[in-house]
């Protein structure tokens, strides 16, 4: 059905171009191995590149990610397929795998695009911008975000009306609607699964009213509002554009909750919420920020001190899980919870509510391998075959796992896990070659 199938071979296939996949690929390439990164999104950098600042140092996330990302994209030993998906992987021999990779058309010739954004200006269509988590719109011809890598345009064909406006203005004639899906047959010796995580969808908790009440956002939407590449120029309620001054964080939204099928702790929400609270207090000095929590899990290096710092800045911490949320006529929200310290149920009004959504597995990895060979753990993360002595080993010899594909973890842990998987992959390659 497709034209031709292209063949290529690499030493290692890294699935996922987030921070873990990127770090693993760099380690491998720096040691002389040829690496292919297959990234589903239009840009590498994963979720981290979209964050505001990172705890506990408050470095801006982009400042850490962008140089890494440009190092990856420049590296002669690394090939990157963006907008591509692994369809299947099967073992071909003792020492090799064959991967079927589908590259969906971008309708833009990456090498020719200069990122001038003229097409974006010309495009008449406006749809929700997924990289701004739907807070604003984007065009159907668009550059994913300003620090994307590659920073080139793409056409969202689902929403494109084929009016041709973009093509008319493109100075380098790099827009090409004749592109078709390409199928690659990739031969590799080892595979690193770095498929990352999904965020919990709060629509699954109807009593919180996300989606219905417009001034409830997810933590990722707040992350975007605080990021340098933010959608609004300041922090605004998406319901009516008001600058909020009583902001609430609802921790454990979709974590530690058997009723939504996710009994585990997401490990990062406490800290990112504390970080956002600190940033909000900086951005909106008059605002009150309240964090409703079950237990604060500030366990990492410098985390407890960071938590103390937030308390010192005046962030209000209330122990109690939010039971339900109702909306007032002015768009403000009433949060009902039990104040555990006082042992009484209370209802408190806030004008913006941030749901600190949890980490869910990205179950894509399940379908890569034939016959369900890649074992998953009870929570559908990639199972670690030997979690204590070889944390990146999976149930398949020669396939390693890095970062949040094995479970929730923060950025430093993801990077260490990526380091571990690349180390194991290199010694595997040494043993097999």
């Amino acid at each position: 059905m497709h034209g031709k199938i292209m063949n290529a071979s690499f030493d290692a296939l890294v699935i996922g171009g987030g921070i873990a996949g990127g770090e693993a690929a760099l380690n491998l390439a720096n040691n002389g191995f040829k690496v292919l990164i297959v990234e589903k999104d239009l840009s590498i950098g994963g979720k981290m590149i979209l964050l505001s600042k990172v705890f506990p140092t408050l470095d801006c996330s982009a400042c850490i990610t962008t140089p890494k990302v440009s190092e990856i994209s420049r590296h002669p030993g690394i090939t990157i397929f963006t907008g591509s998906e692994v369809k299947s992987i099967s073992r071909k021999s003792e020492t090799s795998f064959e991967a079927e990779v589908i590259k969906t058309p971008r309708y833009v010739v990456i090498d020719d695009c200069t990122g001038c954004q003229l097409c974006e200006q010309a495009c008449p269509v406006l749809v929700h911008d997924q990289f701004q988590y739907n807070l604003v719109g984007r065009k159907a011809a668009y550059i994913p975000f300003s620090i994307a890598s590659p920073r080139v345009a793409a056409i969202d064909i689902e929403n494109c009306t084929l009016c041709g406006a973009c093509e008319k203005v493109c100075p380098t004639k790099c827009i090409d609607f004749t592109q078709e899906e390409e199928e690659y047959c990739i031969n590799v010796k080892t595979v690193i699964v770095a498929t990352g995580f999904n965020l919990f969808d709060p629509l699954k908790i109807p009593r919180y009213g996300y989606g219905t009440y417009k001034n409830i956002i997810t933590s990722m939407q707040m992350e975007r509002q605080l990021a340098p590449t933010r959608p609004f120029n300041t922090i605004l309620r998406p319901g009516d554009g008001k600058v909020p001054d009583r902001i609430a964080y609802v921790l454990c939204t979709g974590s530690r909750d058997a009723t939504v099928g996710n009994p585990i702790c997401s490990q990062i929400c406490c800290m990112y919420s504390i970080k956002q609270a600190q940033l909000l207090m900086g951005a909106l000095p008059m605002a009150d920020v309240t964090i409703y929590y079950l237990n604060i899990r500030s366990f990492g290096k410098g985390f407890e001190e960071f938590y103390d710092q937030a308390k010192g800045m005046g962030v209000n911490f209330v122990k109690g899980k939010i039971g339900k949320i109702t909306e007032n006529e002015n768009g403000n929200l009433n949060l009902r919870y039990e104040d555990i310290n006082e042992n009484v149920v209370r209802e408190t009004e806030h004008d913006l509510v941030v749901l600190s959504v949890g980490v869910l597995p990205n179950t894509d990895s399940k379908s890569f391998f034939r016959d369900g060979d890649l074992k998953l753990d009870p929570f559908s993360f990639v199972d670690q075959a030997d979690p204590l002595a070889s944390p990146s080993k999976t149930s398949i010899d020669g396939v390693f796992v890095a970062g949040t594909a094995t479970g929730p973890m923060d950025i430093p842990d993801s990077i260490l896990s990526a380091g571990a998987s690349s180390a194991e992959a290199i010694s595997y390659l040494n043993r097999k070659l």
């Binding site: 440009s70 340098p228 006082e342 042992n343 842990d413």
Partner: protein, 642 residues
């Protein structure tokens, strides 16, 4: 020579531009001598800007570049690489730190911050004006790594390095390997015992030709640096012949009259001067603890394998990189802290784990059967008054798991957890849920109102104002109190001071950057991993160990390294050889040589570290440090003075 200089001023996505008027900075330096172009950018480090810089340098034939952005610790190397890609020598690049030292430091004073930034950028421009191209020295890097510490992290790193094809010397201070993991019994998630894990790794270690294992070994000196560390290692003998008869040895242990506290069991039991840690420890040969041995000779009479003639050795090794995996100590509570050492039956978590391991069927401690156990959390962690502000991260899971193990192994155990908020992060949460369902009782207090342990007659009572019960005062009578002690840095960290490793606020070893360079230290060639870097559980330790292994490997794998050409330089005309510089040099890098007419000093390029200690002592001002010459420093001072 008039340079063409390009200046890039970074917004840092608001980090700088929120406090520093970057446009004003740009305007005020545009007129500076030599500045050809000045630009502001949202992210200087972003790919797009990097490309733009390369294009600018090429197109305009710039021969000097300044980026004013964050600390050079983060991105000096990034921009040096950019200039190199553009075909410009990377030492024609100068970094101005206007984030940490201007926008952030003076975020309370925007005009002040802007003014500071202007001066800092002008100083950088002044410096780059005088910069000259420099070329790195290439040195040989010995393809070998020393791994210090034979615990789980060290073992795992050593195996990985060996697998990657790198010779490793694994140095363990104790006579037995396995570190803390060997001391733990059943381990969380896999239910393997610590012994099983250590056995598995030990078998790999001895299988490997690339690994040389030294036990009872301590690093006593280090000279040299990256690529070429020269270390002396003192190896204490076992005083037992390698080939020994086990039956005889067991008898020898039996007859030994010495009785000293057994550190392996955290002093809850005693051992002899000739001892095993446990029957299957590694290496399997027992040891005579010569410090406590009375030389009575009883063992020698029974066992021909005992050999007091063995002598301490000093081994010299030469490696390209050092990987530190020295582990942690468990916090020792102060006398009287929750009754420690004042009330009998108050033990620490590691002791408790050993107690579980040593008992069978019934849980007996000090002759009494234990039924009710109280666990007091955060002892030595998250301290309000003490120094340890940090959370030790592993203890919640560790103690919950140990408590469950006690409940399963022995009958009728009641567990009471006096905690400050349970932190079973990630998948460990299921363990907490299981513990609750199993009937363990959790009581929570705030840090400023910890539980109180009291002894009345024979009974130990623990009282707490439980915030989960509206701060009602609750009490429990316990047979055993377990203090859940956190991780602290090793008390004896002499090996670290040999290498001058920097420590963080928490006194653990500090990495350069938690996310960018998480296992590297400011001392080139030395990597850190495991719990010596901060509290970690086993999986996290191993992840960092493998990351450190690959980093250490990258220092030595190519056999050579590039070194910074920043060294001292002698002005032959001015030098009159007085010897003051040679005396001042801590590295012995300066020697006298005969020049045409006179004696002068000469620098050994590959030994000089570029510290500059020789500069101020020269009476004739004949020495300058490359890139820090009088001219450069003075022109910077001029620029800063404004």
């Amino acid at each position: 020579m008039n340079k063409k200089i390009g200046v890039y001023i970074c917004h840092c996505g608001g980090n700088i531009s929120d406090y520093v008027d970057v446009e004003k900075v740009k305007k005020s330096i545009e007129a500076e001598d030599g500045v050809f172009l000045a630009k502001t950018t949202l992210f200087a480090c972003g790919d797009a800007n990097q490309k733009e810089m390369v294009d600018d340098i090429k197109e305009n034939e710039l021969d000097g570049v300044v980026v004013a952005s964050c600390s050079p610790k983060l991105h000096l190397l990034t921009f040096r690489a950019v200039t190199e890609r553009a075909g410009l020598n990377k030492y024609n690049y100068v970094h101005a730190n206007i984030r940490e030292q201007a926008s952030w430091a003076h975020s309370d004073d925007k005009p002040g911050a802007t003014e500071t930034a202007i001066r800092l950028v002008k100083a950088a421009v002044a410096k780059v004006r005088l910069a000259e191209p420099l070329y790195p020295f290439i040195i040989n890097s010995k393809k070998a790594v020393a791994v210090i510490g034979g615990g789980i992290a060290g073992l795992r790193a050593a195996i990985e390095l060996a697998d990657m094809g790198c010779p490793v010397t694994l140095i363990e201070r104790e006579h037995f390997i396995g570190g803390r993991v060997a001391q733990w019994d059943v381990l969380f998630t896999t239910n393997e015992t610590g012994k099983e894990v250590v056995t598995k790794l030990y078998n790999e270690v001895i299988r490997h030709d690339n690994i040389r294992l030294l036990t009872g070994a301590e690093v006593i000196s280090n000279t040299g640096s990256i690529g070429d560390f020269k270390m002396k290692i003192k190896v204490t003998p076992r005083y037992i012949k390698a080939k020994c008869n086990e039956g005889h040895l067991l008898k020898a242990i039996e007859v030994c009259p010495v009785d000293v506290p057994d550190e392996f069991n955290f002093n809850i039991t005693n051992r002899k001067a000739i001892y095993h840690n446990f029957p299957s420890e590694y290496p399997q040969t027992p040891v005579i603890d010569i410090k406590n041995c009375t030389r009575c000779g009883e063992c020698e009479k029974i066992c021909p394998s005992v050999d007091f003639s063995q002598e301490e050795e000093t081994i010299e090794i030469n490696v390209g990189s050092v990987l530190m995996a020295t582990g942690f100590d468990s916090y020792t509570p102060a006398d009287g802290e929750f009754g420690y050492k004042q009330i009998e039956n108050v033990v620490t978590l590691p002791q408790f784990k050993r107690i579980i391991d040593l008992n069978d069927k019934k849980l007996i401690y000090k002759g009494k059967e234990i039924k009710n156990i109280a666990y007091i959390y955060c002892v030595g962690s998250r301290q309000i008054d003490g120094d340890n502000k940090y959370c030790s991260r592993y203890c919640c899971t560790s103690v919950i798991y140990a408590a469950m193990q006690a409940r399963h192994k022995f009958s009728d155990i009641n567990n009471y957890h006096f905690n400050r908020g349970i932190r079973t992060y990630g998948k460990q949460e299921v363990l907490y849920a299981e513990s609750l369902k199993g009937g363990d009782i959790y009581l929570q207090s705030y840090e400023d109102a910890p539980p109180v342990v009291e002894q009345n007659n024979d009974k130990i009572t623990i009282r707490i104002n439980d915030i989960l019960t509206a701060k009602k005062e609750m009490s429990v009578e316990a047979d055993l109190v377990v203090l859940v002690t956190g991780m602290v840095p090793r008390a004896d960290n002499s090996v670290a001071s040999l290498f001058k490793l920097p420590k963080g606020r928490d006194k653990f070893f500090n990495e350069i950057h938690m996310k960018l360079r998480p296992v590297e230290t400011v001392i080139d060639g030395i990597t850190i991993c495991g719990a010596c870097q901060g509290p970690k559980n086993i999986m996290e330790s191993v992840n960092s160990a493998l990351s450190a292994a690959i980093k250490s490997f990258s220092y030595v794998s190519k056999g050579e390294l590039e070194l910074e050409p920043i060294i001292a330089k002698i002005d032959k005309d001015l030098c009159t050889w007085c010897g003051a510089c040679a005396e001042a040099c801590p590295f012995d890098a300066i020697k006298m040589v005969k020049d045409e007419k006179k004696d002068i000093a000469a620098i050994n390029n590959s030994v000089c570290k570029g510290c500059g200690m020789c500069l101020p002592v020269c009476p004739s001002n004949a020495i300058n440090l490359i890139a820090y010459s009088d001219k450069e420093i003075e022109s910077m001072i001029d620029a800063l003075a404004g």
